[in-house]
């Protein structure tokens, strides 16, 4: 059998082109892959994944961790000498802080007002009374709770943007546990963006923010934990994200049981007791700070008020779980995988 003259030449040319193409493909200097590293700080596991060429990705991951760990040190109220520690030990005098911390505290106050006090950055005395973050937890007496509640009021936290100072009454303390992780994740993402990273993922203790697709046309796939089945996720509610952040507050994270009752660390700063209406609240928002704060605020607000809060905010979606019932905001559907 013999090919007709012209056809044979075209095939010959096509083969040359394919061989040349394969040669170029396999000689590509830098193939993009996912590089990941996990470190333990902020009392949890923090993972940074970057998609890119190896050298660039490893450098970006290192820089992101450096930024995040620096901020984690500054926001840790138990770290003597940290900015937050200085505010808590100022004895009512002004503490000089930088603009970024002022903005962070302003956000905390804004969300405290928005959630009608369900989230409150001055909740530290209550957290300490219950013993969360310490060796022993206990159910405090009613009188103890009443006394401590008088020391919690975000409105008494004053911010002076002109002189860069924070004023906190001597008997009060701030705890940024409900917002620090989100803020620090955002700082990590900012660092990656500044280094030219276009595709990344940061997970700090289950609070996640993603940047771009994992691969062209392939978003990051994120599951939501089932509150009463550790190690299991809601299979029908896997989210596919190429932007934004997810944060979950659940009563299974830190808790103790006394006389058969579960007491979680998600304390209502208005009543002094753990919020009980939900098992978990997952929030989607554009940035990790907002998702982090709102997951606590919504959980503490309760089932109905929490739903109202989610639906009142643009760009915010939610997934709430209580016994035998889940609720998903309408807008979250478009992110389902």
């Amino acid at each position: 059998m013999e090919f007709p003259g012209n056809f044979r030449k075209y095939i010959f040319l096509l083969v040359i082109v394919i061989i040349f193409g394969l040669f170029i493909f396999y000689r590509l200097p830098a193939r993009k892959e996912i590089y990941a590293e996990t470190r333990f700080f902020m009392d949890t596991t923090v993972t940074v994944k970057v998609v890119g060429e190896q050298k660039m990705a490893e450098r970006a991951i290192e820089q992101a961790f450096k930024t995040m760990q620096e901020w984690a040190g500054r926001l840790d109220r138990f770290n003597s000498g940290s900015t937050v520690w200085r505010i808590n030990h100022s004895g009512g005098e002004g503490t000089r802080v930088d603009q970024e911390l002022l903005i962070l505290l302003k956000k905390g106050k804004d969300y405290a007002a928005l959630s009608k006090g369900a989230f409150d950055p001055t909740v530290a005395p209550l957290v300490d009374l219950w013993g969360f973050g310490q060796d022993e937890q206990r159910v405090p007496r009613v009188g103890e709770i009443e006394r401590v509640l008088s020391r919690i009021d975000y409105e008494k936290l004053s911010l002076d943007f002109v002189n860069h100072q924070v004023f906190l009454p001597a008997f009060m303390e701030i705890d940024l546990g409900g917002m620090a992780k989100g803020f620090i994740i955002d700082k990590g993402i900012e660092t990656l963006l500044a280094l030219g990273v276009e595709s990344a993922y940061i997970n700090a203790g289950g609070n996640i923010r993603v940047l771009g697709n994992k691969a062209p046309g392939h978003p990051w796939r994120i599951g939501i934990r089932k509150p009463r089945e550790p190690g299991k996720i809601f299979q029908r509610y896997i989210l596919a994200l190429n932007r934004g952040s997810l944060a979950t507050s659940g009563d299974y994270e830190r808790y103790f049981t006394f006389n058969g009752v579960r007491y979680s660390h998600l304390l209502d700063p208005r009543t002094g007791y753990p919020a009980r209406e939900m098992q978990s609240a997952t929030i989607y928002a554009e940035n990790a700070l907002e998702a982090d704060i709102l997951s606590t605020a919504v959980f503490v607000s309760g089932w109905d008020e929490g739903k109202r809060l989610i639906e009142s905010l643009e760009g915010v979606e939610g997934f709430l779980v209580r016994e035998n019932e889940v609720w998903m905001s309408k807008g979250l559907e478009k992110y389902l995988y």
Binding site: F12, V15, R39, F40, D43, G205, G223, I224, R225, T248
Partner: protein, 132 residues
């Protein structure tokens, strides 16, 4: 048969080998999905132990002891899953013990007081992470 015909046949054979045999070889070399999965146990200082999930399918469980700031944690891996079996007595809440078994990519066991994290990694997985 002319030179062009011979060139054409040889080229097509080479291209076929590249496109068909190469992915097949990858599968043979890298193994199936189960062999791709690895249990990672990371201590607070960043040191890691890796156990192929396939190695946990045997009669006796694999027991790993990891030292941390408050004592020794005992980890058990068996039949494709892993758990923190015993936290040190000094661990006040023992949340990581209560987490129980994990058997897939996504969930993590995190022991805050002893700074130990355990998770399963895979080259290909359904999930990139879990919000919890």
């Amino acid at each position: 048969m002319t030179f062009y015909d011979k060139f054409l046949i040889i080229s097509l054979v080479i291209i076929s080998v590249i496109f068909i045999i190469s992915p097949l070889a990858n599968i043979l070399v890298e193994g199936n999905n189960l062999d791709d999965q690895v249990i990672i146990i990371q201590a607070g200082d960043g040191s890691r132990q890796k156990i192929p999930l396939a190695d946990t399918y045997r009669e006796e469980p694999v027991i790993i002891k990891v030292a941390g700031p408050i004592g020794v944690s005992i980890i058990e891996a068996h039949n494709g899953r892993v758990r923190l079996k015993e936290a040190p007595p000094e661990d006040p809440e023992k949340i990581c013990e209560k987490t129980g078994w994990i058997d897939r990519v996504g969930p993590m066991i995190i022991c805050v007081p002893n700074q130990i994290s355990i998770w399963i990694e895979a080259k290909e997985s359904e999930l990139d992470g879990v919000s919890w």
